[in-house]
Symmetry: C2
Subunit: 321 residues, 2 copies
């Protein structure tokens, strides 16, 4: 049964910083509620102010602890911070991350912090579709910074870059071939590197390797140059978190100075609009699936009367009718 | 530059068992070559005979070794076998699986075996789109069995079920909470369980846990009942591989007896046709993206003149025009 609610009043309460209203709005957009478009329309006038920062990196580098340490440092600097923790969990890993989430509850009583885990499991395009909706809620609710933390498995670390103004890639010493393996991916996506667990043996070597990778890659880079900084942290003690806050501020400054911020946000809007359009088309296809039309075409494919491409053409023609 | 080729001649050579022709056809469909629909049309009359078996399970259970052992046992039983090894590798894990692949080269000189690794990295819907195309090639080429092995990270273990007649879920002792974590997912998807590394301590306990899970789950299952067997193997020595071949044959028999095989294949055809239709729509959207239309709409979203849902509506209207 649909429960009636006053959207403008809900948005108003979210903008007053009421966590329950913020949570309610995120649930509305996350579940692809039919009113999601109304919610977006109601929020849009209040958006565009939050800095969106993505954190990613391979498993075991301490992403959750780093998010928590960064959160503490940003709070000390007077920023209100929203956190979206993206879990692209599979049937085989589901639930493994609970311990990490629990650690974040140290911020749970702080009204200037809002933390939300978003499970993208089973949602095709879940991250790319639902996350910008949730970012919009936090932006409109007046958070200065929105942190998007990913679990770093699969496609999500690439997707998060598309959503963030600034992408932080975390690495740690003692990951063996980790950096080598990560090389191709992270150089392209990182705006800021963090070498976490910097008190452990091998940290110097990791920083050294990273510096070499960066200087090699720089030869091929075009356009306005941003020198990716490497910040050393020990997230468990908070060491280096202030350095990271400074590096993030410098990158934001650079984005503004070089007109890179509007460029990135326009790219993000293109992705989002395309994702929404795709989802609508997918829903229309699903309607055709539940009808007899797809089933009838599929039966003819099984009977080898029709190849699946010809069947898909027939299905799309129905969609256009 | 496009290279002209004679499709019927290529299909003929593939049906003669020429590996180069088979590989060429898979490359054609994998790369979404413009002629992929022609290839599907040319292959369709020769399809429908191969048994498609999916192998999945969490990392570390020995999937590659098990695939290899099963391959040996199927060859000894006189079957021609095609293998598709699906690597949904991320920027952080890319390349890690090379060692596993190399082990499979022991079958490389056997003309009755064809092995192909398919990287789905970066392909949205890559597995669900490209794999059935590759299965069609192997089916038409006259392989009796097509094995689809997944790396078991992310969404792929769920997708593979949709492609296979029979799904084998591999587990191993000493995985700690692995079985508990896997429980929800694997009970739904497994037709046959394998407990690999059955010579290790804890194998009995793993089999025991699994039996309990199965009998608990059976209470809730509707429809024609298939009792999921548990096969113990030591894939590194080949022990138990013949038992697995027998269990697979029994499941195939059951599928046929209960009219479940045509039901599964019709479901698969529905998924495939829908995936092809979706890909076509996505390509049409991409055309709009590269035009000015999406960029113009996105700029209006950044300027907060338009919310992204209204922009998506406008984009879809263009698509229909």
């Amino acid at each position: 049964m649909a429960v009636a609610f006053d959207l403008d009043e809900l948005v108003g309460r979210a903008r007053d910083g009421q966590h329950r209203a913020i949570a309610r709005l995120i649930s509305l957009v996350e579940d692809a509620n039919p009113r999601v478009a109304d919610v977006a329309r109601a929020l849009t006038p209040f958006t565009g102010n939050a800095r969106v920062i993505g954190l990613t990196g391979p498993p075991g580098v301490g992403k959750s602890t780093s998010t928590s340490a960064l959160l503490t440092a940003l709070r000390a600097a007077g920023k209100r911070v929203g956190v979206l923790a993206i879990d692209p969990s599979s049937p085989f890993t589901g639930g493994a991350l609970l311990g990490d989430r629990i650690r974040m509850t140290e911020h749970a009583t702080d009204p200037g912090v809002f933390i939300r885990s978003m499970a993208t499991r089973g949602h095709l395009g879940g991250l790319s579709w639902a996350t910008p909706q949730a970012v919009r809620v936090l932006d409109a609710a007046g958070f200065d910074v929105v942190l998007i933390e990913t679990v770093g498995v699969g496609q999500s670390e690439v997707d998060v870059v598309k959503l963030a103004d600034t992408t932080v890639v975390l690495l740690a010493p003692g990951m063996g071939d980790g950096i080598q393996a990560a090389k191709a991916g992270v150089l392209e996506i990182a705006d800021v590197f963090v070498v976490n667990k910097a008190d452990r043996p091998g940290a110097d070597a990791t920083v050294h390797d990273l510096k070499q990778m960066i200087s090699l890659a720089r030869r091929e880079i075009r356009g306005p140059s941003w020198r990716q900084p490497i910040v050393r942290t020990v997230a468990s003690t908070g060491e280096g978190a202030d350095d990271l806050v400074r590096a993030l501020a410098e990158h934001h400054e650079w984005l503004v100075t070089h007109a890179e911020l509007p460029r990135r946000r326009a790219a993000r809007a293109r992705d989002e609009v395309a994702a929404i359009a795709m989802r609508r088309l997918r829903a229309e296809l699903a309607d055709l699936r539940h009808g007899d039309r797809l089933a009838g075409l599929a039966d003819r494919v099984v009977a080898r009367e029709l190849d699946p491409f010809a069947a898909a053409d027939a299905l799309i023609e129905d969609l256009r009718r």
